[in-house]
């Protein structure tokens, strides 16, 4: 047994360590399981699921940018039904907390998805994506509207006894207001941040490189912004924060925890090095040993300001 207590609590959700795999960056877990032992992770968050299958946007969906990438996948996913039938069985083979991420265009659809999925006992919590910049209806509009975020939180909480995490949009002036709305409406935690709206043009064709025009910016480029958002929530609202945005190594994990995160998500790094989650976990434990940190959760919001 490890000498370090790596476990963390995200409200009622107990995780054996703070490393989660971010929604949309690990599919439904199959491929990445070849590189990282899912049984060791804190948890895995599914690609956003919608009530019905979504085809997603036509190509080009990806653009590399300086220290970042834009994506406009358009929430391509198999839908809740196929997910339960075809994807859950694989995930059941692992002892890893499964968090289902849900995306929808109406409040009713969020509720409907949650109702269906909450029956599946493998699912330990929900992450509600109110902040995807890549779908025209719903998505962004919800994420940038405090009262809509509050309402979604309350309605989803009403149909499930499992922890509900709201994934916040960074494309707002004061993200703490949104975290407060989540708390006041019974939400258990927030994830911060989703991607930032960005675009890129081909200067010869004068067309946007991304079919959908805008995409979501992720990767190390956004790390300073993500850290500021996490800190803002941590200093203003008493709610657990799951940090994400450009985490590439164990040092970034520590930085996000210091800034106020109870746990963190690895996203873009999985594309570059799918064995990183396992490695980061080991290095994090080494760091704790070296610096005499007996409980990693002591790092959370340990900033000295």
């Amino acid at each position: 047994m490890s000498k370090v207590d790596l476990s963390v609590n995200i409200g009622p959700l107990k995780l054996r360590n703070p490393i989660l795999l971010a929604s949309g960056t690990v599919g439904y877990g199959n491929e990445i399981s070849e590189f990282t032992d899912l049984n060791k992770l804190g948890g895995i968050i599914t690609k956003s699921l919608s009530l019905r299958p979504r085809k997603g946007n036509p190509p080009q969906r990806i653009v590399e940018t300086p220290a970042g990438m834009l994506n406009a996948i358009g929430l391509a996913n198999v839908g809740v039904e196929v997910f339960l039938k075809e994807k859950i069985p694989f995930l059941k083979k692992y002892d890893v907390p499964l968090i289902c991420n849900i995306a929808a265009s109406t409040i009713e659809e969020y509720v409907e998805c949650t109702k269906i999925l909450t029956e599946e006992e493998t699912i330990k919590a929900f992450e509600i994506n109110v902040s995807c910049p890549n779908v025209r209806e719903g998505g962004l509009q919800f994420g940038n509207d405090v009262s809509a975020v509050g309402k979604i939180t309350a309605k989803v909480k009403a149909v499930t006894g499992k922890p509900v995490i709201i994934k916040l949009s960074p494309n707002v002036s004061y993200i703490a207001d949104f975290a407060r709305a989540v708390k006041e409406n019974g939400g258990d935690a927030v994830s911060a941040i989703n991607t930032l709206v960005g675009t890129s043009f081909n200067i010869f064709s004068r067309k946007p490189k991304i079919y959908n025009v805008n995409g979501g910016l992720s990767g190390p480029a956004i790390k300073p912004i993500a850290l500021a958002k996490v800190l803002e929530i941590s200093r203003n609202v008493d709610i657990p924060v799951i940090g994400s945005g450009g985490i590439m190594d164990w040092k970034d994990v520590v930085e996000f925890m210091i800034a106020g995160s109870s746990a963190i998500q690895l996203g873009t790094i999985n594309f570059i090095d799918p064995s990183a989650p396992g490695k980061i976990l080991e290095q994090l434990e080494e760091y704790c040993i070296k610096y005499n940190i007996s409980k990693i959760s002591d790092l959370t919001a340990s900033y000295i300001i």
Partner: protein, 253 residues
């Protein structure tokens, strides 16, 4: 699928800005098939951030060969690797060409750097089938015939071989193959693949093509590389997992 750091054996400038990189990587060399690809991290730093996909061009014993041209910053950095430099490889990836089957003549049609996967295809087909190769490019500078057999060339400007596209060249020579059981292997720009597809459908020819798409992960987790399916318009194939090689009938080019 492996992630492995392997040493460069040799970097050869085949032609102006066109390179062949040989990497000692027995682990992948032993299992990779023609048409499969590798996703390569060209720098340890965050610049560039994403891996770069390259077809396996050839396998020589323990060595993987890549062929590429300098396109942007990533390929420029790759061209500057020296013997002994370690290259971070993720692979083998994707579905390659099916070289088995009921045909006696393999016709290879490549445009520009679309020739990249064919030296290895040629090697693996070996002498079991007849091979005819057609390679085209805009000018003689874009025509790469490294490692290929029975090559005819075409250039848009007529500066080398047939004047016209490589598909036109193939059409003009098509009668030579009458009576043989053919299978076509194509790789190149989308416009070329589209006209190749048309011709193959019109003549009821079996044809596999290797497609390209901007990729983030290369192994199915990002959903970044969709290609329209003919049979299932309600969902996309993923180029990196379901391809990059497809039967030409299965995808909308």
């Amino acid at each position: 699928m492996l992630i492995i750091k392997s040493p460069v054996e040799k970097t050869i400038e085949l032609d102006h800005d066109i390179y062949l990189l040989k990497i000692r990587c027995p682990e992948i060399a032993g299992i990779i098939k023609p048409g499969e690809f590798l996703n390569i991290r060209v720098s340890e730093s965050m610049y560039p951030l994403l891996r770069r996909p390259f077809s396996v061009c050839d396998v020589e014993g323990d060595d993987l060969c890549l062929m590429f041209n300098i396109f942007g910053e990533g390929t420029r950095m790759l061209s500057r690797k020296h013997k002994g430099d370690l290259i971070d490889i993720l692979g083998p990836l994707g579905k390659g060409f099916n070289i088995e089957g009921d045909y006696d003549t393999a016709v290879i049609v490549g445009g520009g750097l679309g020739a990249a996967p064919f030296p290895y295809l040629t090697r693996r087909i070996g002498s079991r089938k007849n091979i005819f190769t057609f390679i085209g490019g805009k000018t003689h500078r874009d025509v790469i015939t490294y490692g290929m057999k029975n090559v005819s060339t075409a250039t848009d400007d007529g500066s080398k071989g047939f004047k016209g596209t490589v598909v036109e060249l193939f059409k003009s020579r098509f009668s030579e193959f009458r009576g043989t059981k053919m299978k076509i292997f194509g790789c190149g720009p989308n416009a070329m693949l589209r006209s190749l597809k048309e011709f193959c459908i019109a003549n009821d020819l079996e044809c596999e093509v290797s497609t390209e798409c901007v990729m983030a992960c290369g192994f199915g987790i990002c959903q970044g590389c969709p290609i329209e399916s003919t049979e299932h318009p309600e969902k996309y194939f993923l180029v990196c997992k379901d391809g990059p090689v497809f039967n030409v009938n299965d995808v909308v080019l």
